[in-house]
Symmetry: C2
Subunit: 512 residues, 2 copies
């Protein structure tokens, strides 16, 4: 039986665009082929706002009528309505006729406005018995022990750095349990912080993966679901390659979906901004990325030359705008309050905020957005300035610990020196006072990140972390900082979600 | 049968403090009294982070042992664990002995880390048959048609401007359906954006309210649940009084729970900052609030005198810090990019950001937090500057439309002129260019707010709003602005939630 997997990057709320993408796919398929689209392919996903559902339902019903005129057979996701209740549904269309609906039963965090549906349904197509529904409901279906030839599972599965491997295992297990071939269809692309990686696939009844669509790429692929497919001997992409591609599609889609073309980035000569500017250039093109160097009296010589080198290596336009005068006039203005006090965090933050003012000035003037360059280690412990370096439209590396940023930097540089080597090897510093280093006020990043991972990713308690051999005092300090800085994280740039413990989307603490 | 309702403002994660509050309550109660505490009284609520559950469970179990030694009878909420699964539970302790557990079944948005429990349970106390459980599960219990004398429903119910009336109706209906007396126990106080209003109450089997604890106040009240109680003939608090008290407790708890004493507010002479400074003074005391006047070349004379008057009326300390030099040095610094362009939004935003830099400079220097003064109408249409006036630790009026801010201002002034009259009557202006008025780029606020309410609160579609008699062009413009500015709202100060459609906590759009 021939199937046609359509792994699309749909536009949320733009039914016409999504509809014409679907028509393009169907044009290529013959009447013996079952085309399979993803969850909510017609409407986009996630939707959040229930206001939109009624209108979307009506519009999508009209579009679906149009698509049915093609006289093709396919499964596609959309919103359906029944007596004032909305369902997240998959529709089976058999040669132009709507034959069956599968509605999602196990609702997830994006489905809060939907009512609980019925789960999987069974259909017949070209002599095969097919169960179709959402991946969220597959284990309930398998428990019912209904024999089928093929299970079609469509779900928009969020990317995180472990998800591909986990999903491979899960699908293999499901296939073996059900003794059926599983066709899994995912979407691709990003929506704000959330990235969908694609990697739609077919797993045979032995649990072997026999077809795999690419990650982070829109793709339609024809194959025979049940015959002649050999198990794939595929190496997994390296972790860094996945993160690299995920952040690029994340940035690209954020800008495209918000109708912004250009990005402005403050280049400090440090590793964080050096990595973000590479990702932005890769996502948006070098002509759409502008670097701003903003030296202060505390900037070291190398921070300026490293930042310049970074811009030169990428061939982007850059400006050097010293912040000395803005800083000085702020200090003058604040004299009534600052006079006679010891310079400290307040003065340091003024510099970070002066830089934000400059970058946003450029961004507003040319209709661009500011890229945020904070990493997850900084966010965790509040090492950053609100309305200063914590700002920006989207945080490309905000869900990567500092040590992960280093790994990504080295990966980017594996063939040529795109990121200036000096940005990678020098000691990290915010350069907000003379000879400052991050390690003056924080543990070294390799220690800090291991503690953070145990707490944030592995959910260990304070005692369990100390028992792993970390100093009690250091662990207590780090955990206190995490808890104290929740209110700051609520106002930082949203980060692209690359893990299951991304701040503000997944890892949320009480504000207190 | 005597009961003792303990409506507490608990501290999230601070089990010792909560435990000693409980002991204080129990000290006053005799052995024939059933004391009733709220949901998660021992641990605080909401918890969010699942990391904490195991530790909280262990600590709270130890505390519960202590409390049981008192040999008293009571119902209290805490986290319980069963085979690696956590439940949101109410525990019935009978004369020092744990006798029954009711676990929450209908989980809400704050319960995502809990497993589904069993709902209501039945106990006997002093010859009465009592059902106890969470308000979330009460309708399921009533459907089971089990006859009881009393239903005890404990749930932390979020405040919004309609919730008191709705809850009164709901409880009355439940009482009549079940033919039982209902004792409802709520918590009081705020957690970040979320406010709990208290108003614990008893409703007799005829559906009449016979006891009511105050709103926004910690209180313990003894009464006989079944005898001699007369229906209350109570007038509802005016809407503005509820909002006034809610914002005050919201600010007070935000500061207290984040261990911050002082607030800094930029005073523009406009109505928004004039209202927020009153609320802050009421919440934190006049010695803990500092006003900053930051005139620019576009400030009118009255904006300075109105802002001064506002500070003088409240008796707070204030500073006048002109932003002219910071603005000018920013313009100079940005000359390479700005030269030859027409002054516009970029220049306007520079001023708003210079003001943020000044207010945050003061806040950082004295260890204070910046109050945000944005209203919901501005947030809706993106009329504000990110990292400028959109900043601040907490938005006191961020969930009030501009017209609601006017109502609140008039309510505050009902007995004396606390807010300068001129701040209320003059035309709203951001004063970022010469003779600017908000109505230059927005519809008048009475029109704007009605459109916003229809869309955001009443969930009408574009067509339905136009059919209500609004101009098509205006409606389209407003709805487009709402959708375009979602990315900005993700980075604005969190607002105190006062409605069911608060941005970022309730009303969320796709970013696109």
């Amino acid at each position: 039986m021939k199937i046609n997997i359509a792994q699309l990057n749909v536009k949320t709320l733009d039914i016409n665009t999504n509809c014409s993408k679907m028509l393009d796919v169907l044009k290529e398929s013959d009447e013996k082929t079952l085309s399979i689209f993803g969850e909510m392919v017609l409407t986009g996903y996630p939707l959040y706002n229930k206001n939109l559902y009624d209108k979307l339902y009506q519009e999508s019903a009209l579009c679906a009528e149009d698509i049915c005129k093609q006289n093709k057979s396919f499964i596609f996701g959309t919103v359906v309505k029944n007596e004032d209740r909305f369902f997240n549904a998959l529709v089976f269309v058999d040669k132009g006729e709507v034959k069956e609906l599968a509605t999602k039963r196990n609702l997830n965090r994006f489905d809060t406005n939907f009512s609980e549906g019925n789960g999987f349904e069974i259909i017949n197509f070209e002599g095969k018995k097919i169960a179709f529904g959402f991946l969220d409901d597959i284990s309930n279906f398998i428990k019912r022990k209904i024999e089928v030839d093929i299970i079609v599972a469509c779900s928009n599965v969020l990317f995180d750095k472990q998800r591909s491997e986990e999903l491979k295992e899960e699908l293999s297990l499901y296939a073996k349990q059900s003794k059926a071939t599983i066709v899994f269809v995912n979407r691709v692309g990003a929506e704000g912080s959330f990235i969908f990686n694609g990697e739609s696939q077919i797993v045979n009844e032995k649990g072997e993966r026999v077809a795999l669509l690419p990650a982070f790429e829109e793709k339609t692929e024809y194959c025979d679901a049940l015959e002649f497919l050999m198990p794939l001997k595929q190496l997994m992409l390296p972790q860094e390659e996945k993160i690299y591609q995920a952040t690029i599609i994340g940035i690209r889609d954020y800008f495209a979906k918000n109708h912004i073309n250009k990005a402005v980035i403050g280049l400090s000569g440090g590793i964080d901004s050096a990595v973000v500017v590479v990702l932005a250039v890769k996502a948006l093109g070098k002509d759409n990325v502008i670097g701003i160097l903003m030296p202060s009296e505390f900037s070291t010589e190398h921070s300026i030359t490293d930042a310049e080198q970074s811009a030169i290596n990428l061939g982007i336009k850059y400006y050097t705008i010293p912040i000395k005068d803005i800083f000085q006039s702020s200090l003058n203005a604040l004299k009534p309050i600052f006079e006679g006090t010891k310079p400290g965090t307040a003065e340091e933050n003024l510099q970070a905020r002066a830089r934000c003012l400059v970058v946003m000035g450029v961004a507003n003037k040319i209709g661009a957005a500011m890229m945020n360059t904070s990493n997850k280690s900084e966010s965790a412990v509040g090492y950053g300035t609100l309305y200063g370096d914590d700002s920006g439209a989207i945080g490309a590396i905000g869900d990567l610990f500092k040590t992960e940023v280093y790994k990504l930097a080295n990966y980017i540089n594996k063939e040529e020196e795109i990121i200036p080597k000096n940005s990678i090897i020098k000691a990290p510093s915010a350069e907000l006072h003379y000879d400052q280093k991050d390690s003056d006020s924080l543990p070294e990043y390799d220690v800090l990140d291991r503690i953070l991972k145990e707490y944030i990713e592995n959910h260990l308690t304070k005692e369990e972390i100390i028992n792993k051999g970390f100093e009690k005092q250091v662990v207590e300090k780090v955990l206190t900082l995490i808890n104290r800085n929740e209110w700051k994280r609520h106002q930082e740039a949203p980060a692209l979600r690359l893990s299951k413990s991304c701040f503000t989307t997944d890892f949320i603490n009480p504000i207190s």
